[in-house]
C-alpha cells in the first residue's frame, strides 16, 4: 500500500507531471483549487468561483453544457463517419448500409443521428431555461441573440445532415424543405415579386438563378445537392457555429457568468 501510494505521489510530483499539469498534485488548498481552473486551457472555460445555484441542476438543467457536449460527440462521431462515407449518389446510400452491416462500431451512425436530434432538443430546452430565468436581460441581450443564431445553426446542421443517407426519407425531407426557399420573396423563382425582376424578355430570378439553386446546386435535388450539403454539414456550418460558440462562451464570462438575481 505504502509502496503504491508513494509511487503515485512521486509521479504527481515528478517533472513530467508538473510540466503538463501546472502546479501538479491534487488540489486541496483554496489557492490550488483556484489555480487548477486558471491553469487549464479547458477548465478555463469556467470561472474560478460561482454563485451556488449555478451548480444546482434544478436551476441550470445543464442544458447548455449538454448542448456543447453533444456538439463534441457529434464532431467526433462525424469525423469518424467521414472515413466510411462518400458523398456521391452512387455510394452514399450503400455506405450507410455498410455502416450498419459491416463497419466495426457502425453504431457511430446511430450516435451521430440521435445525438443530432438530442442536440436540437437540448438547445431548445437551454433557450427555454434561459428565458424562464430571465437571463437574457441586460447585460446579456447580445449573448441571447448569439444564442438564437446558434439555435438556427444547430437546426441547419441537422437539416444538412438529414440529406446525407440519400434515401427516400432524406431527399423528400430536403425537397420539402428546400422548396420553401423557392418561395423567398424576390429571390426565389416562385416567390412573390420574382417575376418583377426582369428586363425585357429576360427573367432574372429563375430556377437556375434563385436562392434555392445556391443551396442545392441545381434546379433539382441531385449530385450537386449532396455535395453541397455534405460540405456545409462537415465544414461550412461547423466552422461558423464554432466561431459563434466561442463568442457565446466568451460573452458568458464577460457578462458576469451565470445570471443571478440582482
Amino acid at each position: 500500500m505504502s509502496e503504491k501510494k508513494g509511487l503515485l505521489k512521486r509521479l504527481a510530483e515528478g517533472q513530467v507531471w508538473t510540466s503538463i499539469f501546472r502546479g501538479g498534485g491534487v488540489p486541496k488548498s483554496r489557492r490550488q483549487r483556484m489555480m487548477v481552473i486558471l491553469n487549464s486551457v479547458f477548465l478555463h472555460l469556467h470561472p474560478v468561483r460561482l454563485p451556488k445555484h449555478a451548480v444546482k441542476l434544478k436551476f441550470t438543467w445543464c442544458m447548455g453544457g449538454l448542448s456543447f457536449f453533444l456538439f463534441l460527440i457529434l464532431t467526433i462521431s462525424g469525423i469518424l463517419l467521414m472515413f466510411y462515407y462518400r458523398p456521391t449518389i452512387e455510394y452514399a446510400y450503400v455506405d450507410i448500409i455498410d455502416l450498419a452491416e459491416q463497419v466495426p462500431f457502425g453504431i457511430m451512425r446511430e450516435i451521430h443521428r440521435w445525438g443530432a436530434h438530442a442536440m436540437v432538443i437540448t438547445v431548445w430546452l437551454h433557450m427555454f431555461r434561459v428565458f424562464m430565468t430571465g437571463s437574457y436581460k441586460p447585460p446579456r441581450e447580445f449573448n441571447w441573440a448569439v444564442g438564437v443564431i446558434l439555435l438556427l445553426l444547430t437546426l441547419l446542421l441537422s437539416f444538412t445532415g438529414y440529406l446525407l443517407p440519400w434515401d427516400q426519407l432524406a431527399i423528400w425531407a430536403i425537397t420539402v424543405g428546400s422548396n420553401m426557399a423557392r418561395a423567398t420573396p424576390f429571390l426565389g423563382s416562385e416567390g412573390p415579386g420574382a417575376a418583377l425582376l426582369a428586363i425585357g424578355d429576360i427573367n432574372f430570378v429563375t430556377m437556375a438563378s434563385d436562392v434555392r439553386f445556391a443551396l442545392i446546386g441545381g434546379r433539382f435535388l441531385g449530385e450537386a445537392t449532396l455535395l453541397r450539403f455534405y460540405v456545409l454539414h462537415c465544414i461550412g456550418l461547423p466552422f461558423i457555429i464554432m466561431i459563434f460558440m466561442a463568442v457565446h462562451f466568451w460573452r458568458i464570462r464577460k457578462d458576469g457568468g451565470i445570471s443571478t438575481p440582482m
Binding site: A198, I199, G200, D201, I202, F204, T206, A208, S209
Partner: protein
Amino acid sequence: MTNQQERYYNILKLNKWFAISSLLFAFIWLLTFANDFNRPWKKYQIEFRELEIEKTRADIKVASESLESNEDYSALKSKLEVAKNEVESNQEEIDSFQEKVQVLEAELYAINQNYQFAKADLDVAKYNFEQAQHGHGDLESATKTLNNLMVLTGARKLKAEIIKGKVEEANNGLKTLRQSLKEANDAISAIARDKNLLDRKLVKIDPEEMTFSNKIANVVRDIPVLDFIDPYYEVKQVVIKDIEDDMVFMGVPKVDRCMTCHMGIDKKGFEDAPQPYTTHPNIDLYLGASSPHPMNEYGCTGCHAGRGRGTDFISSAHSPDNDEMANRWEKELGWHPLHHWETPMLPMKYVEASCLKCHSGSIPSKAAPKLDLGMTIVEKGGCFGCHQIDGFENVPRPGPGLRKIKSKINKDFAYKWIYEPRSFRENSWMPHFFKQINNDDPISVKRTDQEVHAIVSYLFDKSKSFKMDRLPNQGDADNGRLLINSIGCLGCHNIEGDERGASLSVNVLRREHGPELIKLGSKTTQRWIYNWIRDPQKYSSETKMPNMRLSKQEAADISAYLISQNDVEFEQNTVPTVDENELNMIASDLLSSTLRQDEVEARLNGMGLDEKLDYVGGKLIRQYGCFSCHNIDGFEDAKPIGTPLSTEGSKLIAKLDFGYFHDEIPHTKWDWFNLKIDNPRIFDMIPQEDDSYKIKIKSPLDKLRMPHFGMNNQEREATVTVMMGLVKDEIPPSKLPSKTERYLAIETGEILIMQYNCKGCHSIDGDGDAIQPTIASWLSEIADKTTAEDKSLVLSFSPPMLDTEGRKIQPNWLFKFFNNPTMIRPNLQVRMPSFEMISDKEWNSLIKYFQLKDGQTIPYETPHTIVKNSTKYKAGEVIQEMGACDNCHFYGNQKPKQAALTWGPNLALVKERLRSEWLIEWYRDPQAIMPGTKMPAPYIPWEEPIDDVKESWGKNVAKLHSNPEKLIEALRDYTWGISGPTDVSRIVKAHLASEGYGFVIEEDDWGDEDW
C-alpha cells in the same frame, strides 16, 4: 517628453497607407473579376452571333422577296383589309355579344364553383359511405348525406351545363362575326410562316432589332457576376451518360463542349463559314437530330477523340493534319500539343479510325473508305499473322502454302525471291526481311546471305513431292491469253504488271487477291502451272484459289501463255555460295541461347553441313515468323511473333519507344506507327546530322525484325487508321448498331465475301466488279473499241450484279448452283468458279446474307403455281409473243433468234431459279433493279384503246387490259410455264464456235415494227 498617447506611427500616414492599400486591393479585385470573365471561347461566340445575324438577315431578305412576289400573299393582304373593315362595321354587334359573354361567364363561374364544391363534398360523402360500410361510422347518416349530395350535385351540374351552352352560343356568334378576319389572318400567317420564324429569331439575336428593354437586358445578361442568370454567351455541352471517358480502371460519362466554339456544327447553312463555325460536312450521317449519330447521344470526342471538356483551342487537344498546319496553328493560335492527355484529337486524315470501335463487324465502306482500305491491307498484307488482331482469328494465312514447294520452284529462285521479293514482282505483298537499314552493312549481309540459304534448305528439305499430270500438248499461248482475259482470272489477278495508279482503292486491291501472274517463266514450270490451275486443291488444300473447271486444252493453253514470259535480269542475279564458317557462327548464336559454350561446340561438331543448314533454317523461320503467312511443316502451332495489336490504338504513348527519333517526328502515336510501317527497322538506328544513320549496338538476334512492306503514303495512312481504331473502349450496346439477325447475317456474309473476293467479279450495292475494266479491254480485242466503250455491253459481258439476289433467287437453287455452277447467261465467257473449299455452312451463311439483306426473312416458300388454260396464261403467251422474248432468250434448247451478243438466260430456268414476286418487279422496270441492263421492259398495251387491243392482242389480253399489274402477272405466269432442258452449254459452244458473237450488228436490235 513622453509619448502620452503611446503612439509610434503618424496616424495620418497610416490612413494614407490604408487608403492606398485598399485602393490597390480593390483594383486587384477588379482584375480578378476581369480574369474570370475573360474566357477564350467568348470571342468565338460573339463572332458566331454576328455570322448568325448576318445569315438570318440574308434569309429574311430572300423570304420577304419571295413573299412579295407571291401573288397569293398580296391577295390575302387585301382580303385581310376587307375583313378588318367588315369586323369594324360590325363592332356594335360584337360589343353587345362580348358584354353578354362577360355576364354569362360571371354567372357560369359562380355556378361552376358551386358545382365543383358540391362534387368535392360528394366525393367525401362517397368515401365516408364506403368507410361506414366497412364498419367505421354511421351508415345511415352517411347514406343520407350521400344521397342528398348526389341530388344536389346533379342539379348543379345541370344548371352549369345550361349556362355553358349559353356561353358557347354567344361565343359562336362572336366567332361567326369574326370568322373572315380569323381566316385571313390564319392564311397569312401560314403563308408567311418561314419569314415570321426568321423574324422572331432575328429579334432574339440581333440587338438592333430588339426593343429598348431587351437591348438593356442583352447587355445586362452578360455582364460579369450577373452572367449566371441567363447568359447569351455560355459554355455549351452535351453529357453522354453511357459513353465513358477512360479514367484508368473506371469510366466517367463523356462531356463534350466542342460546340461552345464550333457553334455552327449542327446547324445547316454554315457550310461555307470559316472554322470553327463550319457546319459538319456530313450532317445527315453525324450530329443531325435525325441522323444515326445525333449530337446529344454521341457527342464529338467519341469519334474525334480529344479532351471534350476543353473550352480552349489548346486544352481541347486539337491535332494538326501535317507540319504545315501545325506551323500555322502555332503562329496564329499559339498552339502546342497538349501534354498529359492520352487521347489527343485524331487528325482528320485518321478520323475514320473511330468507326472501327463500333462497326468492326461490318465496315461502312462508303462512309469510311480509308478504314475499309486499311482493313483490306491488313488482311492482304497479313499483319494479323504476326500481330494478333481481334476479328481476324479465322482469316486464313495470306501467303501460299509451302509444303510442296519443291515441285513448284527451284532453290535458286527461292533464294532470290526471299532475299528481295520486289525485285521480281514490283507490287508483291511478300515483305522484305533483308537488305534493310539495320542489316545492310557488309558484316550483316555476309550473315544474312547464309540465313537465306538455311531457310531455303529447310523449306526444300521438308517439302513433300507432288504428283503431276503430263501436259496433253504444248498449248496455244495466244488462246491462253484470251482465256485469261475472258474467263475471270482477272477478278483476282493482275497480269500486265500495271501500275496501281495514283489512287489506291479497295477495288484495286481485289485484283491483288492472288499474285500477279507475270514472269512465271523465271519462276516455275509449265507443267506445274497446268496441274495447279486444273485443280488447285490438289496442290494445296488450304488455297483460296477456286477451280475454274478448265478443260485439259484450256489449261494447257493458259499455262503456255503464263510460262512464256520471264525476267532475264532477275535470273542473272547470282546466289552466293554456302559458307560453313558463317553458318557455324549463326548456329552457335542460336544454340547459345539455351546451351553452355562447350555444349554448343559439341553440338556443332556433331552436325554435318546439311544438318546445320536445316537447324539454322528452322530456327530462323521461327525468328522471322515466316509461318505466320505460309503453311510450313513443323510450325502448325507456332505462336505469332509480333506485338498484339488488338488494343494498339489505346496503348499509352509512353509504351512506344521513340528511341533517337523523339525530335525527328511529332510525339504522337500515329506518327510513330507511320514511321514504323514506313521503315520498320528505323528504331534500331541513330540519326546523324547529315541524314545518314548509325546503328545501335545489338546482337543479330536482338535486332528489330519486322519486315518492310514497301507501302506508299496512302497505304500507310490507311493502315495507321486501322491501328488507331484498334482501341479498348467499351461501347455500351445502346450505342452499337443493334445486333439483329439481319445485322449479324450481313456481318458474317461480308466477311466471307471479303475472304473469297466475291466482289472481284460481282458488284453488290454499287461496290465491287473489279474485273470490269479488263472485260472492256477484252471486248475491245475481240470486237472493237466502240463495243468496249458501250457501258451496257460491257455490263452484259461482266459477271452479274447481285443487288437484289435475296429477293430474286430461290435459296435451294442458289445452294445447288454454288455447289455446281452451271451456265445461266449464255453469252458470258466469265465463269463462276467452283469454290470447293467453301463449306455448306459458309454457303448457307452467304445465302442468308443475300436473303436478309433484301428483307427476305424466310428461306422456304410455297412454290408459285400456274394454270395453263387460264386467261392469264394465255394472255401471257400473247405478250411474250408480241414482245419477242425468244429473240434473246433460250426456251429450253430452242436457240434465240438474234445473234449471241444479246443472248439472255434460258427461260426454262425461271421456274426453279427465280422468285415469282421478284419477276414481277423485274418485268415492271428492269432498269430499276439492274441499271444499264440490256433487258427492255416488256411492252404492256394497257394504255391502248380496248378495241385496238382486242383486235391486235386477242381477247385474253383484252380481258385483263384495264389492269397492267395483271398483264405483268400474265407474262410472269407464261414464263413460269416454259420448260425444257436447262443446260444449253453445248449449243452455245457450238454456236459461238461457228458464228461468234455477231458484234457487227449496229442497228437497233429490237426491230421497230414490234414496238
